[in-house]
Symmetry: C2
Subunit: 396 residues, 2 copies
């Protein structure tokens, strides 16, 4: 058996040879910490820190209202949205950056139900992220539809001509299992239903190709792999063919000419109509700058790097953690495994706490999950080894 020092040295060597290793320098990571929770809250980037400081000290303090009239704020949201569009594989103008994922899902589902009139059912997924299920259930109830919650693998089988909308996550927040984005979407379309996707746990970790998938609408989160900061603005994708889709919240920033203060609501073209109130400038500034960490690198290359990271953790799990009573709650097949790995142990809560005390930061997810995000922009192979080694030591 190879010792941990040898395993670490091999990982350090692979890290040193990594052609993408320079990307980590874009992050302002604390020294000595293996931060494996970027799927929950992405770390600060140097770009975001500089941009927020400039926004506060210059644009707000000195520019004041002029930063709306003549400055960079008026189109900050669409400029940010277009950066997200590239990352999720959407054409410019098809993504709005606004509000939270929760609010955007509310908007997307109302729009989708309106695009499938006369149908009586919505299909969502058992165990999907709670807020998604809460919002889906509520929109369905408010529109007079019923909701069927089915296991993720049974969605296609649950569809019929009475289904208006399928609402589900692309990557499961617990297991990291990747849903069949294009396949489920095609199955939905085959019965005349729409597919609305939550990309929170996939955007920035893997190529999504949301437009190519045929998806109707999608929402996602700015503060996970996109590193936009705590509670960063979220986004909403609407397929260009749904140019007439209507938001249930027609706010002035979704108006075609907000500062005309017009009598009647005239929605902006494209996704921008799904903006509602005033752009949250501080948060959007941080997100816009943070997205520059993806400059010059393709999602395919990041995906390969991410798959190598999660495969390395699964390999270490097999040899060193499974014998100590740890289980694997993520798929073995890296092709259907997203950017994080969920391990299981009855003492998960306490183990996550002990790891964090030692500088290895992951997430506890009830009831027994240890969740580790291996962000392809900055997580190193050596950090993966450190995690496995320290977890094994805690259990030994």
């Amino acid at each position: 058996v190879t010792g941990w020092d040898d395993i670490r040295d091999e990982a350090l060597g692979a890290d040193a040879a990594d052609p993408l290793r320079h990307l980590r320098e874009r992050m302002a990571l604390p020294a000595g910490v293996a931060y494996l929770d970027g799927n929950s809250l992405g770390p600060l980037t140097h770009a975001a820190r500089d941009a927020v400081r400039r926004c506060v000290d210059r644009e707000w303090a000195t520019g004041l209202i002029g930063s709306w009239a003549e400055g960079a704020w008026v189109d900050l949201a669409p400029r940010t949205a277009d950066r997200i569009a590239r990352i999720i594989g959407a054409p410019a103008g098809s993504v709005a950056c606004a509000d939270s994922t929760t609010v955007n899902l509310h908007k997307a589902l109302h729009a989708a139900v309106s695009l499938a009139p006369g149908r009586r059912r919505v299909v969502s997924v058992q165990g999907d992220f709670p807020t998604d299920r809460y919002v889906t259930a509520r929109v369905a109830a408010d529109r007079g539809l019923t909701v069927d919650q089915v296991p993720a693998g049974d969605v296609a089988a649950a569809l019929d001509e009475d289904v208006a909308v399928v609402s589900m996550s692309h990557v499961d927040f617990r297991s990291a299992r990747i849903a069949d984005l294009a396949g489920v979407t095609a199955a939905a379309h085959a019965v005349g239903a729409l597919a609305v996707w939550d990309l929170a746990h996939s955007a920035g970790a893997l190529p999504i190709g949301i437009a190519a998938s045929g998806a109707d609408l999608a929402v996602g989160c700015g503060y996970k792999y996109l590193n936009g900061g705590p509670g960063a603005p979220a986004y909403l994708y609407v397929a260009p063919r749904h140019a007439a889709a209507e938001t249930p919240i027609p706010g002035w920033f979704g108006h075609t000419d907000p500062f005309a203060f017009g009598e009647a609501y005239a929605p902006a073209a494209g996704a921008r109509r799904f903006e509602a109130g005033t752009t949250p400038v501080l948060g959007t500034t941080a997100l816009h700058a943070a997205l520059s960490a993806f400059d010059g690198v393709g999602m395919d290359a990041l995906r390969l790097r991410g798959m190598e990271l999660t495969a390395r953790l699964v390999d270490l799990f097999d040899v060193h953690l499974a014998p100590l009573g740890v289980t694997l709650q993520s798929p073995r097949d890296p092709g259907v495994r997203g950017g994080h790995v969920m391990l299981g142990h009855p003492r998960a809560r306490e183990l996550v706490r002990a790891l964090a005390a030692g500088g290895v930061v992951g997430d506890f997810r009830p009831p027994d999950g240890l969740r580790f995000g291996l962000a392809p922009l900055y997580t190193t192979r050596a950090e993966v080894v450190r995690l496995a080694r320290e977890l094994a030591a805690l259990l030994a």
Copy 2:
């Protein structure tokens, strides 16, 4: 006739004797500028600058996910909401800080319609802030109700037993006219309707006494007189007697235990159920800190100071601006005039631009309005004189 220098000197003397003059030192105002647009975008406070820097450099960069688990973020929104509650005259726990004014109005109106079942009409106000009218019209349509837009003074007369909700602004965004908050609310209640108020242009400028007024729900903006920063989070007040009011957007931060990831939606007690997605931490941090600028001063004292400022501008208007073709588009009676003054002139757009070029910053509001916010926290009498003098000079 007194010359402008004498008028200025008298104002400077009054400023020097002002027992509230220390409040201005809390603001990070640019030198040489008379910023009279705080009703559109409040200026930076030193407290907000320090708090945002600490949030980015320490809480986010170093604390990372721990700033949720052990840090100050989890209850940042309710702590901020309780600061707003004091300013608008609401009990602790009856205000939620979240989302934009637009989204909050959507939530408040849906909740209000649900509290008045079986009724078929909503009453709103002609010329009210566009996004309010757009959202009101849309909620009404989506709930199968019709909307009557009536002049602000005719709202009480438009009420009958078929009205579910009255939706209107407390202070008009153009004229600054203060609506009869308690009177209209009582008239609504007399026919069994609910009153939903937008406090965007009154909160922080005058005492509102929202709870004492009997209002059912209210929303407002964090970035005007509250100085929370561009696109700051907004708020939603719900009268404690409406504890069972339901938000149409049941998100995880409105859940009674968000991090339990529960199967069913269980709304938090009080106003917090009207939170939806994750707290936007950067913006809420700025707003929370900015609200400390109101520490140690009552809204009654600020109101007296604000009334003196607007009365001074109206006096100067009468003597020096009316003869040059300027009109007064705000009420003469300071008792029904909010924190800003709207002047009128056919060349308003160009005059506002020329004033700004000279360091006197106001707002142009189509078609012919020059709008000046005289924020009682920091606007000085000397700035009011400077405005009148420079406007007179431009017109002479």
